[in-house]
């Protein structure tokens, strides 16, 4: 029966091409708009490291205190007024305490790479200074070689891990492990080449959350970078600070973050109390005089806290789904008109033996067919919408405006289900017609 109803739907569409075409377009546009924003939203709100996002945490310590630093400062504060980075001293202290099985302090910077080929000009690359645990913690895949070790961190060894992208650029993609690379004029030895790895969003580097182009292309040991006085890309000092590298290191300026791996809930609880005790000890030592305040957030919590999805995207999601609502109301009305105009036919079928359920089924299949056709149009409009939406993101990487299989399935599903739901009432009305009434007025 289903194939029969499907054929009947197609025939009815052919009969009134213009009206059906407009209905399909209306549904398609609604699906297109809502699926565009939904695709982007899903990409932005996605779990960048599923399976591990519940085990990776980043600590925060309040080293600013409750002092009101003017109305402008408040504007840029987080909801709980905790700073989003740590001072150098705090980061190093946390690392030294080893309260987590895996841990890595890190900061973003950039270095000048001087290629071995003298004909090639030097260039700057985004860089991450971090500890050895970074790689196993975040499950960074390696093309060649391996990360440096904890003892290398200790020794401030001049080692470097480069990315595949950099490796391709410098060495044509061959195994460059063991070669020497000149960074900022100093020699480093390549110990590993990391394979292409783009967690989306880049939760540990929110300035380049969705920007593949701005992501780090090489990794240095944190200790070595500090020893070479390689400055962080950004820092925030709410307290007065003097000049000089050592002063900076000892100041309350914040520019490093720490990520730790805490595999069980018990481990997380233990770390949280360790963190609190640390802050408490700092207070007791006189460093600050306000009550200790700390936070420990895992990847998902961190992304929500930092409001990774921009306002505009949320607004557009709301607008587009309201828009879809209008399109479906529209389809409902037109389906009602269409089915009601065909009541005569329905009566004939009833007279020939169709019960109410059969009429209902026929109409629902017709609305489903409309939904499928609408889905096809919708996918076209979604692609259009995603192309247009690229302008919303600076350094537009296509990662956010790509349609993967899941998005396509959702689009088809939403179109089908919503159109069929919209068709329920008109179908029900059609099935309720008294056969005699329509035939009598003939």
């Amino acid at each position: 029966m289903f194939a029969y109803y499907f054929r009947l739907s197609l025939r009815s569409f052919r009969r009134n091409v213009i009206l059906t075409g407009l209905m399909v377009l209306a549904i398609g546009v609604g699906i297109g708009a809502s699926m565009t924003t939904l695709t982007i939203f899903r990409a932005m709100a996605a779990d960048p490291i599923p399976g591990k996002s519940g085990e990776l945490f980043t600590p925060q310590i309040d080293n600013y205190g409750p002092v009101n630093l003017g109305p402008d400062t408040q504007r840029f504060q987080t909801p709980d007024r905790l700073p989003t980075s740590l001072t150098y001293l705090d980061a190093v202290a946390l690392m030294r305490a080893h309260a987590a099985p895996r841990q890595a302090a890190m900061y973003a910077t950039n270095v000048a790479v001087t290629p071995a080929d003298p004909k090639q000009l030097p260039f700057r690359v985004p860089t991450r200074a971090t500890y050895a645990d970074f790689f196993p913690m975040f499950e960074v895949p390696f093309e060649y070689g391996a990360p440096w070790s904890a003892s290398d961190d200790q020794a401030r060894a001049p080692l470097v891990v480069i990315t595949r992208q950099l490796n391709d650029r410098l060495y044509g993609g061959v195994n460059s492990v063991g070669r020497t690379l000149t960074l900022n004029g100093d020699a480093y030895r390549i110990v590993g080449v990391a394979d292409t790895w783009h967690p989306t969003p880049r939760f540990y580097d929110l300035n380049n959350a969705f920007d593949y182009g701005g992501a780090e292309q090489l990794y240095l040991p944190f200790t070595r970078a500090i020893a070479q006085q390689i400055h962080s890309n950004g820092l925030s000092c709410l307290k007065p600070v003097g000049s000089g590298w050592q002063t900076l290191l000892g100041s309350e300026c914040i520019w490093t973050t720490v990520w730790v791996e805490l595999p069980t809930a018990a481990a997380a609880r233990a770390y949280r109390s360790f963190l609190f005790n640390y802050a408490q000890a700092q207070r007791d030592s006189g460093r600050f005089h306000w009550p200790a305040k700390v936070a420990l957030r895992n990847v998902r919590q961190w992304l929500a806290y930092r409001q990774i999805v921009p306002q505009d995207v949320s607004t557009l999601v709301l607008v587009s789904f309201a828009f879809l609502g209008v399109c479906l109301l529209n389809a409902l009305g037109l389906m009602l008109a269409k089915f009601m105009a065909r009541l005569g036919q329905v009566s004939v079928r009833r007279a020939l033996g169709a019960d109410q359920r059969a009429i209902l089924a026929q109409c629902i299949v017709e609305s489903g067919t409309l939904g499928l056709t609408g889905a096809a149009a919708g996918l076209g409009f979604t692609l259009l919408g995603l192309t247009m939406a690229r302008g919303l993101f600076a350094n537009a990487t296509s990662v956010l405006t790509r349609l993967n299989g899941g998005d396509i399935a959702i689009a088809i599903g939403v179109s089908l289900v919503t159109t069929m739901l919209a068709g329920l009432y008109p179908s029900w009305r059609a099935s309720q017609v008294q056969p005699a009434w329509q035939l009598k007025t003939q």
């Binding site: 029966m1 029969y4 009947l8 025939r11 009815s12 009969r15 005569g344 036919q345 004939v348 079928r349 009833r350 007279a351 020939l352 033996g353 169709a354 019960d355 109410q356 359920r357 059969a358 008294q434 056969p435 005699a436 035939l439 009598k440 003939q442």
Partner: protein, 244 residues
């Protein structure tokens, strides 16, 4: 075949009560060809729609082929309609979107028959009414007489026990009307039970028995002994054993 006993049909709205049929008692035996006559508004169409299970009745009883139709649910009634009754309407009521083949196919679809079986039945009945050459045509491409023949084919394809015709020649010119009447008579000779509503006394005369309805009641005229075609039980299926 068709037995109504003190049947009544009342249409009720908030302000008005209309008695379309009152104390209606009639019996049509198998193989009879009955013409139902009456002025407009007398209730003959209502009688037909109730007989065809297209409407429910208010009081009394109606047995179709021995089945008590009172209190049947929609599913049961639809099934009875599909299996036992064939309709022929004044304005043909063919589905304009479908061609002749697909129009005749409709009742078979609701019976759940397989494709091959349906094809066989449809081609048989098309030959019976003489429309085999027009099988892919649309109603808009055929004359009135051809359309009515297609409608009759549709009514017959499911081998119904009872044919109900509402002014079958009302929209046809004299020549086409004659052709349709001849077909109906032929079907009757082959054992079909036919109840035909008409206002044309000439047409009514060609039936075996005439029944008159006035103000929702029966006023019977000229009863004739029933001619039960040659002792067969399944009269209409006999009609198909003939090939053109």
């Amino acid at each position: 075949m068709l037995k109504m006993n003190h049947l009544s049909k009342v249409y009720r709205t908030d302000v008005l009560e209309t008695h379309a049929l009152r104390d209606f008692t009639v019996e049509v035996r198998e193989g009879e060809f009955v013409a139902v006559m009456g002025p407009s508004g007398s209730g003959k169409t209502t009688f037909l729609t109730i007989a065809g299970l297209l409407e429910e009745f208010t009081g009394g009883g109606y047995w179709l082929d021995g089945v008590d139709t009172r209190g049947l649910n929609d599913r049961h009634r639809s099934r009875l309609r599909n299996e036992k009754i064939g309709f022929v309407f004044q304005s043909f009521n063919l589905i304009p979107d479908l061609n002749v083949y697909d129009n005749i196919d409709v009742p078979l679809r609701y019976r759940g028959l397989r494709g091959a079986e349906r094809r066989r039945l449809i081609h048989e009945v098309l030959q019976r009414v003489g429309l085999s050459s027009r099988v892919r045509h649309y109603p808009s491409e055929m004359s009135g007489g051809q359309q009515q023949r297609a409608a009759i084919a549709r009514a017959l394809v499911g081998r119904p026990r009872l044919l109900l015709a509402d002014e079958p020649t009302g929209n046809l010119d004299t020549q086409m009307a004659r052709g349709v009447m001849e077909l109906l008579e032929e079907l009757h000779r082959d054992g079909a039970t036919i109840v035909m509503v008409t206002h044309d006394p000439e047409l009514a005369a060609r039936a075996q028995r005439q029944v008159r309805i006035m103000d929702g009641r029966i006023v019977e005229l000229e009863a004739e002994p029933a001619l039960v075609g040659q002792g067969n039980v399944d009269g209409l299926s006999r009609a198909f054993s003939r090939t053109a």
